[in-house]
């Protein structure tokens, strides 16, 4: 977990990942519109981060793209290459959502089993074992989730997301429940392993967004709006002691504070 952005470690994709655009999204929540005419896009092959006060609809936006929320008529969610988005998305939620009756390895291979793909066989299985080794769980392949720590469980969830081998990755505060050292390590690992994919990261932590994102949005208001993204240079993960980033952090916190007042 020491070397960063070693290209040989990130799993190469057969095709380049698509951009994703959400257009004129409308979604009602408890009678009031959570989104109305919301436009949003994910740049192809980049990390887009969405920050915002809790309850503003960040998670709902992510679930909308994942196909887990019913949007009102008129909403369009499309991939930039014109092909359908369904089946090209992997989702990682706030909880690890590991199944307590499966081993770490079987949890990582859950997707293939649920789709009834012919026995994951040697190839996918060995890929999963490789990845679990890479995240430092090589010795815990047979461990049940109850035997793993929170950080280890989240690493299994990360491997499960990776092994799906989807070009678009949606992550909903995947590291928020971890202690800061574990979070730090997992962030580096995610950057390394998800390099070149289209990633949406929803988070409440400005530092996480600045460390990992290529584009950072703040979401605010009801119906919610996204401001113009902060564009950052493409080398991630960044060092947070960079003075330029510290300035940006205070800028982001100011925007977030404004967003919280508006809400």
């Amino acid at each position: 977990m020491t070397t960063i952005s070693d290209p040989s470690r990130s799993r190469a994709l057969p095709t380049s990942p698509p951009a994703v655009s959400v257009h004129a999204a409308r979604l009602d929540y408890g009678g009031t519109p959570l989104f109305d005419e919301l436009d949003f896009s994910l740049a192809a092959g980049q990390w887009t981060c969405v920050l915002g006060p809790s309850g503003v609809g960040k998670t709902t936006l992510l679930r909308l793209i994942a196909g887990l929320e019913e949007a009102a008529a008129g909403t369009s969610i499309a991939a930039g290459d014109g092909r359908p988005l369904a089946g090209r998305v992997a989702w990682m939620g706030q909880q690890d959502l590991l199944l307590p009756w499966l081993s770490a390895l079987d949890n990582a291979l859950l997707g293939a089993r649920l789709r009834g793909e012919p026995d994951p066989g040697s190839e996918r299985r060995s890929a999963a074992i490789e990845l679990l080794k890479l995240v430092g769980l090589g010795g815990r392949l047979a461990a049940r989730p109850a035997e793993l720590s929170g950080g280890q469980r989240q690493r299994v969830a990360l491997v499960r997301t990776l092994i799906e081998d989807r070009p678009v990755i949606l992550m909903d505060e995947p590291f928020s429940s971890l202690d800061s050292v574990t979070r730090w390590k997992l962030q580096e690992l995610a950057v390394e392993l998800l390099a070149g994919r289209t990633v949406l990261l929803v988070t409440h932590d400005p530092r996480e967004a600045l460390r990992l994102g290529h584009r950072v949005h703040v979401m605010a208001g009801r119906p919610a709006r996204l401001d113009r993204p902060l564009l950052l240079d493409p080398r991630t993960p960044r060092r947070l002691d960079d003075p330029a980033l510290l300035t940006l952090e205070s800028e982001l916190i100011r925007r977030l504070a404004g967003a919280a007042e508006a809400a």
Binding site: R63, A66, G67, L68, A86, G87, V89, A90, W91, G93, Q95, L97, L99, P100, W101, L110, G111, R113, L114, R115, G116, R144, A146, E164
Partner: protein, 254 residues
Amino acid sequence: MRSLLRALLVFAGLCLVWQVFVTVTGIPPYLLPAPTRVFAALIDRADFLLPHALLTLAEIALGMLFGILLGGFSALTLARFAPARRWLLPVLVVSQAIPVFALAPLLVLWFGYGLASKVAAATLIIYFPVTSAFYDGLRHTERGWLDLARVMGATGGRELLLLRVPAALPGFASGVRVAAAVAPIGAVIGEWVGASAGLGYVMLQANARMQIDVMFAALLVLGLMAVTLYYAIDAALRRFIPWLPESLTASSKE
């Protein structure tokens, strides 16, 4: 082991209170025999009681087997097919409103005086708790797991088999525990209504002949069987479903 010791101590204490009560009040043995008399009857009549006990045990075991299979199948059908839910769920609830006791004479009429009618009574009495507990578990799968399966593109059948069924097994287990506790009731009801063997039959006969000590001895055997069955089932469930939430197993330990 400690809990077993505690249970034995409580049992011994109750027997002592019972013995003292009988000695002090001088209550005639045809109303309430002293525990010493009951144990004497248990030993004297062991040869007589054993085959009856084995028969009742067989009825309970078969009733549990059929009840669990039938209940499990019904719950899966209800969970998988929406029309089945709409049409069968009300029937299921109404069927539970009819006490098995009231049905027992019919069961004897249909299935005869032998084993079958008792197995049917035991099956009926455990069918509902198993079905409802398992179905409830199948309906309340963790929302996030279902979302995950959906994004992963799971097929309906595989989602049920690989996700919802294992997730519902703790609920199923509590249904089976209830079944283990009530199955003896079903078997004994069947024997009361019409039988020529079994512990329920022995109790009725002994009662009619004022052999109250034999009746208590049969009751003791029945109770021992029921308790053993319950703990054996509980241990087996915990062995095979290790992800059973602690709260469930803890409550059963008490």
